[in-house]
Structure formats: C-alpha cells, structure tokens
C-alpha cells in the first residue's frame, strides 16, 4: 500500500489495577481498507479501540492520526480528529427521533436556533447512504429494530465525514441479510476512502469483508496479515496460541449421546403462548437432553424462553413438571421449580455491573433462599471457588467488579450463577454471543457436561452451526411460531434448518411486514 497510514499507533501500553491490558501494541490503519482487529476476549481489542477513541488514556506509546501525534481526551476529541465509533451495544437515544440521533451535535442551525426541516433533510440524505432513505427521520428511534438502529448508528458516524470508522461487533445482532446489507454499506464507505476498523467474532464475516488484519493475544501484538494470505486455521492458532482442536472434538458430540425420552418429561408445556409475543407452542424437555432452538432474529426464540421461565406471564397453555400440573407465572416460581434462564441481554439483564464477581455469582442462589437467610460465608466461598474453577473464569479474582471482566468471562460467571441453583432445566439464550472461540468452546463443553449430568438444557443461538453441534433435538421457530422439531442425526445440518425456514417464507398474512414473494428466488 503506497499511501501513508491514516492511523498509526506505536508501542501502546495501558494498565488497569492488576492487569496490563495492552503491552506495547502496534497498530496501523490505511485509508480505503477494511482492517479486522482479531483476538480472543480479553486480548485487548476493546482496550485498543477505546485508546483510539479517547475513552482510555494511554500510559505509554504514541497515536498519530494523519501523521500528527494526538492526545485524545475523549469521544468528542476523537470525533474532531475524524475518528467515529459504532459500538456493539447500539449507543443511541431511543427517546428521540431517528433523524435527531443521526444529527445530534451536528444539527443545522439558523438564526432561530436549530432548523429542524433542514436537519431532517440532511439526516435523510445520510440515511440514504446506508439504504434507509425511505425512513421518516421524524419517527422515534424506538420504532426501529436493533439491526436498523445499528445502521442508523453507522450513518451517524458518516455525518462528520470521518476518515476513520470503527465498527465494534456490528453484526452480533444482525441476521444474514442484514449483515449483507451492512457489508454493502461498509464497502461503499471503503471505496470512498474511509479507513474502517472492523471487529467481529464471526470468522466468515471477517474473511468476507476485511483486507488486512491485526491479531492481538493477551494484550500483546501477534502480527499483521493480509487477509488473503492467512487461512482460518493459522489465524485461529495465532489468536489462541494453540491449535484449536476443541471445536472439532465438539463436532457432533451430541449424536454420540443417547437420550432417554421414555420417562416423564422434566418440563412439558402445551399451547404455551402470549399475544403479540408467541403463538401457542408445545415444548417438551427431557432430562439429559439439549434442545436447540433455531430461528432468525425475531422468530420468537427469546419470547419462548421468557414464557417458560415466567419472565413474561403466559396468557395461555398448560405446564406440567414431571407430569404434575404446575403454574409458572414469575421467575421466582420458575426458580423454585428449578428452572433457570440466562438472558441474551448480558449487559442489562445479566450482570450487575457494580457488584463483584463473587456477588454476581451467588445472586441467584441467594434469591432462591430468600433474603432473610444469608448464605454462610464459608458456603459462599466454596460455591464461588467451585464454579470459578469449573468454568475457568479469568482473572480468578472473585472480588473484582464484574464489569472489569471480558464478555466471555462475564458469561461464564452468569452461567455459574445459574448452575449454582442446581437447575433441572437451564435455558441459555445466546450464551455465546459476542465472545471468543476459546470461551465459546468452554461454554459449549459445559453445556454437554450438564446434559450428561441429567440437566435439561435449552440452547438458543443464532449461530446455526452451534445449535447443530450441541443439540439432541432442534426446534425451529419462525415468525413467532414453531415450524417443526428435528432430531439430531447426520441429516441435521445448518443447511437443513435453513431450508426448513426458507420453505416457509411465503407469507399468507397480508398485514405482515414482509413484502410478498421473498421466497420466490430460493
């Protein structure tokens, strides 16, 4: 590449109390390229990004943007230097309009203050670039799905004519089509000369979109590669520092296990439903079985899980536990019936940010016992130690605030939280979202181990490969209803699941948001 790099970071070190998050890391970004930042959770990707966006102060090293050394003191500084960021959790304000979210801080101003007509017109222009030109920018942002909000966030980044655009896990809540859309936007921005830093855990996506990549491991620089020159196996090996055999050994682990479905099911619901969230659905869970739930975003996966757990009160349907009639209308009833649910929304419905790992871990056990009966300190420590070891939580310090842990390790703590309640039924909603391959493998191994111990596990993931790998049985959902259930076997692959969903794609309901005839091409 002949042009000089637009961003050059040299010897960057950042320390937090007790951790060296980045250790003399080098990084460069060229205009007109998509550069993937790769590494496991805790490798330092987020820290590097936050160093570049001015959220963290750099202890050592130098950042040059467009050749001039910069000391960035905050997001506003970074934006002024032409660096815009779109974070994994969409950081927009849902209480104001779409157009305002795009233009906030860059509104057109006239003698009478903000000129809303022109501001919204400009917002429309910018939205047009990401394929959202048809949206009415005056609508509140809350009317959009997360996927569209993500695109709005990206169009916001283009308002400032940024030279550098950082996309941190932009695809983690998008479905395949939305990802394709996003990639089209990214490519057109790249062709305009914007330097794009792309972070994703989806290797396929990284290979599809990036030109170059930088690999980090444990806060150290592992190398910079042209994407075309490095194959997946080598990349993974560089990221984890060992050959990744674990995922392969998990391959079809489920098909080697025999599930006894003859006894009374641990949990059986008939016609479980709630208006506007899920059509009446039957679901049966057997001890020692992993039930995978597959479906696109918005197909009703999470809704089903929330109904089983009582987080949303079912409006219809009967529930039987071990053949005894039961009613589960609230999480506390579910917990008492030994049903546990780990939410997909780790940040808002999972971790309690300000509490330590220890407190987060014992939370559910304590809730189950009731607040009047505190767990004795000794028992508490034993529990915490047991699950931190079993799940390999790093750093192994139970007194660290959970917000200091990487996403994968937070997820492990949450898994531990529910395991500590010794559930008969464990519902895991997207437990592998946004975490690295190493942690992913560990969590998936844990799921299989749990099933072997006799727990009925419900595994929800938008990664079809994971669902196929782990599940003994797969329930396929679409448009908030159950399509079918498939038993694991050689015939069950992600392609068969996709085919099942695709076959059902011609909508009969004219009120549906889907334009008719999308399935015709398949």
């Amino acid at each position: 590449m002949s042009a000089p790099p637009i961003v050059e970071m040299k010897g960057i070190s950042i320390s937090f109390p007790g951790v060296k998050a980045l250790d003399r890391v080098d990084f460069r970004l060229f205009p007109g390229e998509v550069h993937a930042l790769m590494g496991e959770n805790g490798a330092g990707k987020s820290t590097l990004i936050k160093a570049l966006t001015g959220v963290y102060t750099i202890d050592e090293g130098e950042v040059r943007i467009d050749g001039t050394p910069r000391r960035l003191g905050g997001t506003a500084d970074a934006q002024a230097a032409g660096v815009s960021t779109v974070y994994q959790e969409v950081n927009l304000c849902t209480n104001i309009s779409i157009g305002e979210n795009v233009m906030l801080g860059h509104e057109t101003r006239g003698p009478l203050g903000i000129n809303w007509r022109d501001t919204h017109r400009r917002a429309s222009e910018v939205l047009e670039k990401v394929g959202l030109g048809e949206l009415d920018p005056r609508l509140p942002l809350s009317t959009l799905s997360i996927a569209l909000q993500q695109l709005v966030a990206i169009s916001r980044a283009t308002v400032t004519d940024s030279t550098v655009l950082i996309l941190d896990e932009p695809t983690s809540s998008l479905d395949a089509n939305e990802v394709e859309n996003l990639f089209t936007v990214i490519r057109s921005l790249r062709d305009e000369g914007v330097a794009i830093l792309f972070v994703s855990h989806f290797l396929d996506q990284v290979y599809a979109i990036s030109d170059r990549m930088t690999v980090l491991r444990n806060g150290t620089f592992q190398g910079e590669f042209m994407t075309a020159d490095i194959d997946q196996a080598t990349l993974i090996a560089t990221m984890v520092g060992k050959e990744m055999k674990a995922l392969d050994s998990l391959e079809r682990a489920s098909s080697r296990r025999e599930v006894d479905r003859s006894g009374a099911p641990v949990y059986r619901a008939e016609g479980l439903g709630r208006k506007g969230s899920l059509e009446p659905t039957d679901i049966t869970l057997h001890a020692g079985e992993v039930l995978g739930i597959a479906g696109l975003l918005g197909s009703g996966r999470t809704e089903l899980a929330r109904l089983v757990y009582g987080a949303d009160k079912p409006e219809e349907g009967t529930v039987r536990l071990e053949d005894a009639e039961a009613q589960i209308a609230s999480p506390s009833q579910a917990l008492a019936a030994r049903i546990a649910y780990a939410s997909e929304n780790r940040r808002d419905e999972g971790i309690i940010r300000d509490l330590s790992v220890r407190e987060n871990l014992i939370l559910a056990v304590q809730a189950k016992r009731g607040w009047a009966r505190p767990i004795p300190a000794q028992e508490k420590n034993a529990l915490v130690e047991k699950y931190m070891n079993a799940l390999n939580v790093r750093p192994a310090d139970p007194d660290r605030p959970i917000s200091n842990l990487s996403g994968g390790n937070q997820q492990k703590v949450l898994l531990g939280r529910w395991l500590a309640t010794r559930p008969d039924v464990l519902i895991l909603d997207e437990p592998t979202r946004g975490i690295d391959i190493g942690a992913k493998t560990e969590i998936m191994e844990e799921v299989i181990a749990l099933a072997d111990e006799g727990v009925a596990v419900v595994f929800i993931s938008s990664e079809l490969d994971e669902v196929v790998r782990l599940s003994d049985r797969v329930m396929v959902l679409k448009d908030r209803r159950k399509l079918t259930e498939l038993l694991a076997g050689d015939s069950l692959t992600s392609d068969t699941i996709i085919a099942t969903i695709a076959e059902e794609s011609a909508p009969e309901d004219p009120g549906s948001l889907e334009p008719a005839g999308t399935g015709a091409s398949s």
Binding site: Y87, I114, L296, S505, P515
Partner: protein, 346 residues
C-alpha cells in the same frame, strides 16, 4: 452464515396503515401533555358550570399572577427531570433568596442589585448541586437534598420571623398590577411584570429545549447518558447547565414571589419543590427522563393553581383535603404515562 436465508430486505416497505400507526406512536409521548391540557379545560368548564365566574378575565389573570412563581419553578424542574435528575433544593432557595433580598433591600441596597443578588443565590446553589453531581458522583436526590437543608438553614439563621419589604422598595414594582383590558365590574385582564417574567422564562426555555444543541443534549442525557457521552455530546457542561438553570430559575421565582407578597419568611416555599415536580409530571414530563415539554409544565402549574381556586370556591371541601386531590391527579397522570410507555414498548 449462508446467503440462502431469505428475509425481508432491511429497507422497510411499510404499508400506509403501518406508517399512520407509527406516526401516531411518534406523537404518543405528547399524549400526557395533551391530556393535561384537556383536564385543564374540563376543570375550567366544570368550575364555570358549578360555581360560575371562572371562565372570565379576572380569574384567569389571578391564576397567572398567583402561580407565576410556580410556573417558573416547574420550568426549571422540567429541564432537570428530562435529563433524568431531580432538584429538591428549589423551595429552600426561594426561602433563602427572598429573606436575603428583603433584608438587603431594607438595608437600603439598590433594588436592581438586590434582584441580581437574589437570582445569583439561586445560581450558586444550583452550581454547587451540579458540581456535586457531576464531579463528586453524588446522586442528584442527595446533592439537592443537602442543598435544600443548607438553604433552609441559612434562611433561618437570617431571620425566623416574617420580614416586611419597605413599601418604597423598587422590587414591589414587579408586583404592580397593570390593567390590560378594563372589563365590566372587576372583570379585568390584569398582568404583573412577574407574570411577564414567567412568560419570558417559558419562551426562553422552550427555545433552549427545542432549538439549541444544549437543549437537545438534555433530552439525549435523559435517554441515555452513556450514549450521549459516546456520541461526543457535551454531557458534563450540559448537566452543570441544567442544575445552574434550575437554581437560577428558583432565584427568579423568589424575586417574583417576594414582589407579589411584599414580605419574606424562612418557612416560605416548604414543599414547593414537590409542587413544581408535580406540575412537571402532570404536564407530561416523565420522571425517568427523556420525555417532557416546557409547555406541559405551564399547564401542570395552572392545573394545580386552578384546583386551589375551585376548592376555595366550593367551600365545602376542607382546605386540608387539597393535597389529597393533588395526589389523586398526580396518580392519574402517572398511570396515564405508564400506559403510554407500555404501548410504546410493544
């Protein structure tokens, strides 16, 4: 990931019906404000039918004159509450500022200077609250509660008995009644400079909230402070501004109130912060932040004021019951807001 999955394209092709529904939805957050307006009109109509002489110039004039200070306070609280905070100090600011002002005026200070000092007392207390909240990470509730005790205590140290303002003081000019329309009998449209000040405050606040970046940042902070700062907005400066504005407006309210009453006392304004919060909430401002209108606060303050008028006129309702009715109205509005929010969540 396979491209074989067929899903609707990202660009939404919504039916006309859907678009209409969305447009209604986009206006849903102004529903409580509209409801407040409706209730206000209904109260006027009821009063007119049941007691008479409500729907006339003199009553409306008095409503504004007697509640100008509350309108100003409610506007200040609207800023604070939209940003997701709270300010409990405004009642105490009125006490401190008005006692201080009367004592200084009686000591012979120039009226203009006294007014400036009264306003600056409010600004200073607001600034301290803002600094505590922003730089010392104190909860808004606690920071402004501390300021409330401080202000009330300082006022009590200055005087524990009512102090009368010299009849010659220029401050009283702000309370002069100016007849705009000379109606039959005493049915006149009357206005005081204090009312004008309140209206100016409302207009200025409206422009700031809807037409400036600072105002829009207030909304963004209420939506998500974290997002607002990641968007590169001036969160720190705006939050300081909010509390300084609330304090300053409390100072202005103290001037307006003192000018009308002609005296000051250390126990003036007890519970007014709650009246102002109630006015803002009745006017459609969400206590959780992010939604609200200045005009709503005005309507809210007028609803509270009119309620007092109606109760006085009725005569059979004991004045002690006023707070019960205030509470009831407040509850109805909060429930209405919850209904609107839950519909928006769907």
């Amino acid at each position: 990931m396979s491209a074989a999955i067929t899903t609707p394209p990202a660009a939404p092709t919504v039916s006309r019906l859907e678009r209409l529904r969305q447009q209604l939805l986009s206006r849903a957050d102004s529903l409580p404000t509209a409801a407040a307006l409706v209730i206000f009109v209904l109260m006027l109509a009821y009063g007119e039918i049941a007691y008479g002489r409500i729907f006339q110039l003199s009553t409306v004039s008095n409503l504004f004159i007697n509640n100008a200070h509350l309108i100003i306070l409610a506007v200040g609280l609207t800023f604070v509450i939209i940003s997701g905070g709270i300010d409990l100090s405004v009642g105490a600011i009125i006490a401190l500022s008005s006692v201080c002002g009367v004592i200084l005026a009686n000591a012979g200070w120039n009226a203009g200077l006294v007014i400036l000092v009264m306003i600056l007392i409010g600004s200073t207390i607001g600034l301290v609250s803002g600094v505590l909240i922003q730089y010392f990470d104190v909860q808004p509730f606690i920071a402004t509660l501390a300021m409330m005790f401080l202000g009330r205590g300082l006022a009590s140290m200055l005087s524990t008995v009512p102090v009368r303002l010299d009849e010659a003081s220029g401050i009283l000019l702000l309370g002069t009644k100016i007849k705009l329309i000379d109606g039959p009998k005493v049915n006149d449209l009357v206005i005081t400079p204090g009312v004008l000040i309140a209206l100016l405050v409302v207009a200025a606040a409206f422009i700031i909230l809807h037409r400036t970046r600072t105002g829009r940042t207030v909304y963004a902070i209420g939506g998500s402070e974290h997002s607002a700062s990641l968007m590169g907005l001036a969160v720190v400066r705006t939050k300081l501004f909010i509390y300084v504005a609330s304090g300053t407006l409390a100072g202005i309210a103290a001037v307006v109130y003192t000018a009308r009453l002609g005296s000051a006392q250390n126990i003036t304004g007890i519970g007014w912060e709650l009246d102002a919060i109630a006015a803002a909430v009745i006017g459609g401002t969400l206590l959780t932040g992010g939604f609200g209108y200045v005009l709503g606060a005005v309507v809210g303050a007028l609803v509270l004021g009119l309620m007092n008028v109606l109760i006085t006129r009725d005569g059979s309702i004991p004045p002690e019951a006023t707070t019960i009715i205030t509470g009831g109205i407040l509850l109805i509005f909060v429930l209405l807001q919850r209904a609107v929010i839950s519909r928006q969540r769907e």
